[in-house]
């Protein structure tokens, strides 16, 4: 009957096809098609940027934790342990940096630089802090970048990901810390070294302050030499650097002038008062 016929008609024109036919009546114009592709392009770009921001945040957090850990270092027995643990932490950070390098394959690094710069600066601060504790010297940017050349860890990476090398046998990824990020990281390092100076006196270590004073002066001289050649963010750090250096120099002065008067076990007290004053200045609780 007619009911059956009508039913079959519905089967011949299922809902989805009907919609498609309607679209075919009004096909998207060239302009709309273009904008649809723009949407895709922008979304892809933004997604990548966000992934890199997240990685940068992870890098920042883990680097900061490494710095806190390293502040607990003393030449006491647990020193070796702390250094080893810091290396483990920094390896974890480097694995994150590897992911950053993989995200940037085929891209212009500078397009995404603002996303990763904070993390890289913090990493420079952490790794140079560790290097100073181990060697009493400043790590170079070349040395830092040498550690940021990565190879595939397992077969999965080799087959799935694109990389720098054309030889599919051993793909490599690398990231270069820029001179500016390096300088900004080193500038922040001086703040940690200043804290190290104050705390080392509290631990009865009266040699480190003088070593630090000399070291910081070298760095300060370096930044003075650079002056305004770099971007504004670098010159801005010079002010804080000068303050850190001044605090260290004052600590050395106090040690020199009053060190002989005060029994060693009371030296810590002298500097803890000073530290309170300094912390008050910086607005710390």
């Amino acid at each position: 009957g007619s009911g059956g016929f009508r039913k079959r008609k519905h089967d011949n024109f299922p809902h989805g096809q009907r919609r498609e036919e309607k679209e075919n009546v009004n096909p998207p114009s060239a302009l709309m098609t273009s904008f649809k592709s723009f949407q895709l392009e922008l979304d892809t770009r933004h997604d990548k940027y966000e992934r890199l921001v997240k990685l940068s945040r992870d890098i920042t957090i883990e680097s900061k934790r490494t710095i806190f850990l390293l502040h607990r270092f003393t030449s006491a027995p647990n020193g070796e342990e702390i250094l080893n643990e810091s290396e483990v932490k920094l390896d974890a950070v480097r694995r994150k940096i590897k992911q950053v390098a993989q995200e940037l394959i085929g891209e212009d690094m500078y397009q995404f630089h603002r996303a990763i710069s904070p993390g890289l600066q913090e990493y420079v601060e952490a790794v140079s802090f560790q290097y100073f504790i181990k060697t009493r010297s400043l790590i170079s940017v070349e040395e830092i970048n040498k550690q940021l050349i990565f190879t595939a860890e397992d077969r999965e990476e080799t087959t799935n990901m694109t990389s720098n090398s054309h030889d599919k046998q051993s793909p490599t990824w690398s990231l270069k810390v820029t001179p500016v990020d390096y300088l900004l990281g080193v500038a922040d390092l001086t703040g940690e070294l200043m804290r190290l100076c104050i705390s080392s006196v509290g631990n009865g270590d009266i040699d480190t302050p003088f070593e630090l004073s000399q070291f910081l002066r070298q760095i300060y001289d370096g930044f003075t030499f650079i002056g305004n050649t770099g971007p504004y963010e670098v010159s801005k750090k010079l002010y804080t650097l000068k303050q850190s250096l001044a605090k260290v120099e004052n600590a050395c002065y106090t040690l020199k002038v009053r060190g002989s008067e005060i029994p060693k076990h009371m030296l810590a007290d002298v500097f803890s008062t000073k530290t309170e004053l300094i912390d008050q200045e910086e607005g710390l609780p």
Binding site: M32, S34, F35, F38, D108, Q111, V141, G230
Partner: protein, 229 residues
């Protein structure tokens, strides 16, 4: 390497970077000058007699774009080809301005939206990053948004000059442009802010069309437009 040696090397790198930027700035200044000349030329279409001279102005503008192409070739040589985004901030503004001017010329000629590839060709650059000095999509979109504002102004001045058909065509064009932009998921950056201005352009043109329609002026226009087109 001693600390002072390290910093000397770093200072060298920073100095080199500054030198490159200085060279780029000079090239960009030249481009800005040419852009100003094209803009001054095209702004003339807003005045009464200017409407008749549109084809001539477009032709002249295209000649100026020849100068732009030459200047672009010069700019490309000032920095390593694979570091476009390192120095992008220096030419971003003038490039957006040039996109707008190219889009304006193409609109005046054909009343269509110039494609990204077409703009790139007019400016003598690439459309894809992989092929070299290219037009970033956000710069293209910014330039297009500036075109929208210019057309809103043109709609108003068309009426003043007695052309009642043009605003209607501009309205169709801008509305389609608006639909296109609505597809985009923009972040809270300068492009987003500029896009926010588009709705005021749409509104302004709607008001012009409304003013024409309630006075029956657009009916005259469609009658006339049939013959013109």
């Amino acid at each position: 390497m001693s600390v002072s040696e390290m910093f000397a090397a770093l200072q060298g790198a920073l100095g080199q970077d500054q030198d490159i930027r200085e060279e780029i700035r000079k090239e960009v200044q030249a481009l800005e000058q040419t852009a100003r000349e094209i803009l001054t030329l095209l702004q003339g279409v807003h005045q009464g007699p200017g409407f008749q001279h549109i084809p001539k102005k477009c032709q002249k503008a295209r000649e100026h774009f020849g100068t732009v192409r030459t200047q672009m070739e010069s700019l490309k040589t000032k920095f390593p080809a694979d570091q476009y985004y390192r120095f992008h901030e220096h030419w971003r503004f003038v490039l957006q301005r040039l996109v707008f001017l190219a889009a304006f010329v193409v609109y005046l000629e054909s009343e269509t939206l110039v494609t990204r590839e077409a703009v790139a060709e007019i400016l003598g650059i690439e459309a894809d990053r992989e092929r070299g000095f290219h037009l970033d999509i956000e710069d293209y979109l910014s330039g297009v948004l500036t075109l929208a504002s210019e057309l809103a102004r043109l709609a108003v001045n068309s009426v003043t000059a007695g052309d009642y058909a043009r605003p209607l065509r501009i309205s169709t064009f801008i509305n389609e442009l608006d639909s296109g932009f609505r597809l985009l998921n923009l972040k809270n950056d300068s492009l987003r802010k500029r896009y926010d201005g588009l709705k005021y352009d749409v509104k302004k043109i709607e008001e012009v069309v409304y003013d024409l329609s309630i006075r029956g002026l657009n009916k005259e226009a469609t009658v006339g437009a049939g013959g013109e087109k």
